[in-house]
Amino acid sequence: MTGTAPSGAAASGIRLPRALMLALPLVLIAVVGALAPWLAPASPSATDLSASLEGPSTSHWLGTDQLGRDQLSRIVFAARTSLSVAAVVMTLAFVVGVTIGAVGAFAGGIVDRLVTWAVEAALSVPSLLLALAIIGIRGNSVPNLILALTIVAWAPYARIARGAVLGYRRSAASEALVGLGAHPLRVLFGHVIPTASRPALVFASTDVGAVVLATAGLSFLGLGITPPTPEWGQMLVESRPYLATAWWLWLPPGVAITVVALSGNLLSEHLGVAPELRRLRIRRPRPTPSTSPKRGRAQTAAKTGRPVPLWEMRDLRVDFDTPDGPVAAVRGLDYTLDRGEVLAIVGESGSGKTVSCLAPLGLAGDRAAVRGSARLAGTELVGAGEDTLRAVRGAEIAVVFQNPYAALNPLRRVGALVADGLRPPAKGHQARERVVELLRAAGLPHPEDVADRYPHELSGGMRQRVLVAAALAGDPDIVVADEPTTALDATTQAEVIELLRRLQRERGLALVLVSHDLGVVAHLADRVLVMHDGVAVEEIAADQLPNATHPRTRDLLDAVPRLPETRAGTRATTRSTEARC
């Protein structure tokens, strides 16, 4: 418990004041409305024809209307009316909508289809028109206004709840619960309804503004709240003859409606943003190009004996800005990479291996502050402008990302995705030919056919090959492969590794292979850089790995699952038996 307190407090410490600030106008107006009988200086319906249409004064702060009623009192009482109507409508819409949506998704089958149909029907009808029709048929009264607004407002809640519940039902969490033997009612009330309510509540905060606006609109049209009950829309109607002469009649109710609607929208926008994004405050880092010679430089230069390596990192540091202060992800990394070389960067998750590759290319996000030096053929990338980096990415350094399921746009054909990266750019036949050639190079069978498919029609291994083809499209000198096989099953992993090795040799690429699995990289890399906690703890030739001494390297070696030793001999026999058949 104690361990979580700081992080929990930090997270809400960022969030709460902001949300409260945005909600403040709404809350204030609600409080004023609730306390109207005590706050208002006069009765909202007390007429005084002798004092009609008076401007603001000390006795009437916001002046009087044509019947001599105190405008301030009317505004305050109108807040009570508007927000009461909104509260009732939203409670009804929320309960009805969430229940219908959750039950539909939970029940499935014909019930769900009926719910979907009803929601779509309700959403496709223009809402104000529907409300007008209902009030027109049933007559002008507050219950009818609430009924009309509820019928207009429930559908989005149902749709949101249905989506949340469908997502939940497909999750392993819900299956685990079923597997534990939980009663359906426990599942429904303990998990399904809360799951459905959370996003619906967020939506409700936008809806406040919309409902208040709709109430005012209907009242303005004479179909909502009827005089003499004060209501903002109603007040606007009454002010119409005096638009030019008495600003105090129309301005205050207009401002009140705007404030409520705006406050609701801003609040929902704030609440709707992913919590992860909100927790990490975004701040542009100030790049500080390093000029002073860094430790280890002279030594490495002397060792390699080459004046300008293809890719050179010197004292690279990456800090992430978080609410709890900066977090150092990479803390002084040095390495060089030459043409045709394969470097493996290995380490546990969180050791900074991926970030160290992506940050110099400007791919680690806005909250990453990069310092030190990363030179591509002598050109400094740390602190370089976005234009420079864009020219480098793809054409000089290409990245194969970890998750082949997420890294491809599901709405575009494979051919178009690969063609995007072609450097120099090409169109039509020429592009097509080069794309097919790249797909063939990536070992995809029937490349012409694959080019016309969508990513979801391909297996994980094929998608990873498409990503490799896309990385090669810019004819880069360096390919960074970030955990290229982690998402794949064992047989496919072996094939993708074979592919990377072949392409690297054929094209003389420099390859940076990022992985947590020493087993995967050991026979592909020339050198292995072992990272731990943001620093390189050991740099070692791959064939020297068995003699590695650093404890972190030993840990990684020991973690590689291994088959029994006797296997090799037996397997050779089996294979030769097969060959003979």
Binding site: G3, E175, G179, G519, V520, V560, L563, E565, R575
Partner: protein, 265 residues
Amino acid sequence: MLRIQDVTLRYRRRSGGPLTAVDGVSLTVAAGEIVGLVGESGCGKSSLARAVVGLHRHDEGTIGLDDVDLSALGASERRRHRRRAQMVFQDPFGSLDPHRSVGSAIGEALAIARSVPRTQRAERVTELLELVHLDPSVRGRRPRELSGGQCQRVAIARALAVEPRLLVCDEPVTALDLSVQAKVLDLLVELRDRLGTGCLFITHDLAVLARIADRIAVMHEGRLVESGPAQQILTAPSHPQTVRLLEAATRFPSTAQNPPIGVPA
């Protein structure tokens, strides 16, 4: 304890005939035994696992856990009996409710099982967390505040809360880092030794099974193509598919003929 007999499982497809995912598979798991079920993605191993814990109906054959077939029971009986076989899922984060604390997730499992009185639940949660080598102070955290390995431990603790006879682990370490994988695997072996729980362990990676399995069954295209003691399958495979999987699981081909790295010669 677990007896799978001639089980066939089909999926209906929108077009074409039904797809046979599992085709006449028979398999047993004894108490205190870890049986590995291995195969490529799409070979039917996960479908079979889900049928064992009652998340899928099978079309033919019987799945008996202590001679009770879940699919033959009524709803409330089934709820009571399905506790005996618990599933540990591949995605440690996805199998826990992100809005609930660790303590509340395990506490809920205890409430469902009614195995301990309400007043002793907190105490039992502490015991379970200690059993999976987690500091009891994590009970107040949400899944997102834990690492993948810690989350998987929580999922295992929750499964153990209902005192199952059998753990069905569906690729439980695939989503984890190698160094974390090893620790979770060691935990499963330790729990088997301490509690005598049987374990059906599903994976695509034979190398993982080499670390923990007593017996191994190999599936290919819905059928069981080979099964036997782990040592035998790993050292003297007889089916070509097993050989393929073994080759894929070999991580140090260059040193395969030599003593493996990390093991003193």
